[in-house]
Amino acid sequence: MQHLLEIVGINKSFGSLQVLKGCGLQVNPSETVVLIGPSGSGKSTLLRCVNLLETVDSGDILFQGENITHSHRSAHLLRRQIGMVFQNFELFSHLSAVENIMLAPVKILGLSQADAHDIATDLLRKVQIPDKADAFPDELSGGQQQRVAIARALAMRPQLMLYDEPTSALDPEMIREVLDVMTQLSSEGMTSIVVTHEMGFARRAADRIVFMEHGEIIESAPSDQFFNGTVNDRARRFLDQILH
């Protein structure tokens, strides 16, 4: 089977600081990969390299078998197939929830307002907030904003979803509602890479856990294997820390 995404030995430095050291990763269609590790370990940078928000210094990134590492001129075309969700939601503050979801399908894909509205309404139902269509971002709770952001990304019908710490800016009582939506999407076969500290979600939804430290991928193991003992010492220590 062809990998949906294949990352081969990528290196990336910010000035003299090397944030990614020969990272390699393969993601199969319908797989959910959870990326964990201490802060500053390069998880988010790795994620941003996938949709070319960051450039790599060396190494290769293949998406659907095609080498995209240096296609920065057509990066916008690639990004239409890859959805991204951010820590701070980043909903467009001048647009209502439904308009946030409709913007890209209308302006980028050229869908009619009516078709885009139908898609947006369906997606709002999917993320469990059909009644918030006309609310503006500052009228929504963090959990609701993040769910609209997920719907916005899904509206482009992406092949792959990237989540960059999607629950880190949320109050504890709102984390659940966002994770539930993500878990449901994963179970429906949406290929996802998730940077998170939520081990409960990792246990529940992940097919594979990737542990990073100091810019290196230390461990990449199926989820049950990862949580049931046979892992690298450094990964074990990190797990012990965050699980207390």
Partner: protein, 241 residues
Amino acid sequence: MSLDLVFHYLVSPIFIRGAVMTLLLTVASLFFGVLIGLVLALIQETQTRAGRIGTLAYLWVFRGTPVLFQIIFIYNVLPSFGIKLSAFVCAVLALSLNEGAYMAEIVRSGLQAVKKGQRTAGLALGMTTSQMMRYVVIPQAARIVLPPIGNQMIGMLKLSALVSVIAVEELLLVANQTASADFRYFEALSAAGIYYLVLTTVFMAIQVAIESALDPKKRRRTRRVSLTERLLGSAETLAVR
């Protein structure tokens, strides 16, 4: 002192033409000023060295010298390079170039006020840089820059009186000439003053109208608010203060 004469001046063709000229000068200079400001701000956005130095030099020259100097300079110096322009064109040119420098700073502050994450979100959806600017950044920046641009609009209206020095037949020149011909300073200048106040009032109303049109939440509200209420702020907002 005669109010009849003030009224007579107000409706006289020469005053009306003067007021129209003032309005024309203001609108034309604002239009080109905003255009220049937008281009300068976008050049600064690109962060190229040449662009930064170029815009910095522009701001240095046009903010660093008096507008009156710029008007007189353009009117008197360009002909010696073989560029012969009418007084009106010189006036619009000088006022636009000067306005552009201030607009550039206003627009730049507006663009910078839109957080980087918003741009990243636009790009991550698959927008090109120009789509991202057009659909994400500029709509948000427009709301931020509107109040300072409203200030500039009214400032420009008053600034336009300066071009009387190069004999553009605008309101102040008309009033001054009429007054010195008839020795009726009070009446002639009052008539001009009334026109200025009417024009600034119209500009303020336009600003309020644009502001509420750009406020996405107001689009949703059904209650229509009277103009005076909007100008003075609604009772609701007063209560909050």
